[in-house]
Symmetry: C2
């Protein structure tokens, strides 16, 4: 898809997708938020080929979304943990899940709840300024300056 060019694209959606625009990366991030950190945990959870997993983890690490952390010196073993940027991706994953719950339901479906109160969570995206739900009002994409 030519990721290099996309990085110069003024669209923040395109920029996000440059390295996160494939299902494996997003599922790895899902599992990382779920608490998985190790190669074999991801591999077993996803049923992904190790070649793929190696490459995806490397890219996510290079892109600052995951970082390696040594958890054993002997034998030397590393795990992958979310960076701040990776943690900030949670709302995206949650909204993806919310769409799936609404439009790809059927059968048992995982839902999310507050870990402390046990209350089921209903995710919505809003404009923090006005409080209006995204989608409830017409929006416009704007490129600043002489674009």
């Amino acid at each position: 898809m030519n990721d290099k060019n996309i990085c110069a694209d003024p669209c923040p959606i395109a920029r996000s997708l440059a390295f996160l625009g494939d299902a494996w990366s997003l599922l790895i991030l899902r599992d990382a938020h779920f608490g998985l950190t190790r190669f074999d945990q991801f591999r077993k959870s996803l049923g992904i080929a190790p070649t793929m997993l190696t490459r995806r983890l490397a890219t996510l690490t290079e892109e600052g979304i995951l970082e390696k952390r040594l958890y054993s010196e002997r034998p030397p073993r590393e795990e992958y943990v979310l960076t701040a940027a990776g943690r900030d991706f949670l709302p995206v994953l949650i909204m993806i899940g919310a769409w799936g719950s609404q439009h790809r339901s059927g059968g048992k479906l995982v839902y999310i709840e507050d870990a402390e109160t046990g209350q089921a969570i209903k995710p919505v995206a809003i404009d923090e300024v006005t409080g209006a739900k995204i989608g409830s009002r017409p929006i416009r994409f704007v490129l600043p300056d002489g674009g």
Copy 2:
């Protein structure tokens, strides 16, 4: 990635990604929300090969995210418009964009504003029940019943 199996996955994120987990589909949806409807509009906007575009539009249509609409009988021409499910995907795109704005900034970046008031929009995902921002509290993924 084996999309058939994913459809039976109880994870709504995985289900969403079964057919939306690639960059082209997401960029097509972005453009559709921007107002594009025609084959050549998408092709030119994205620089995508027509083979790819044909396949992606077909899948998105089969999956009920876009639908074909005849806009000219002679010559017979069709355009692609968002269905309700497609329109509901806007919050996801906006959150993807919000992440990109924060973590892939640099240079001129498109932002979104209210089309009527001109106010810039700051998208956040919250729990509609409590109003708490997603990410501000620990959450848990739950599979109901005997899972």
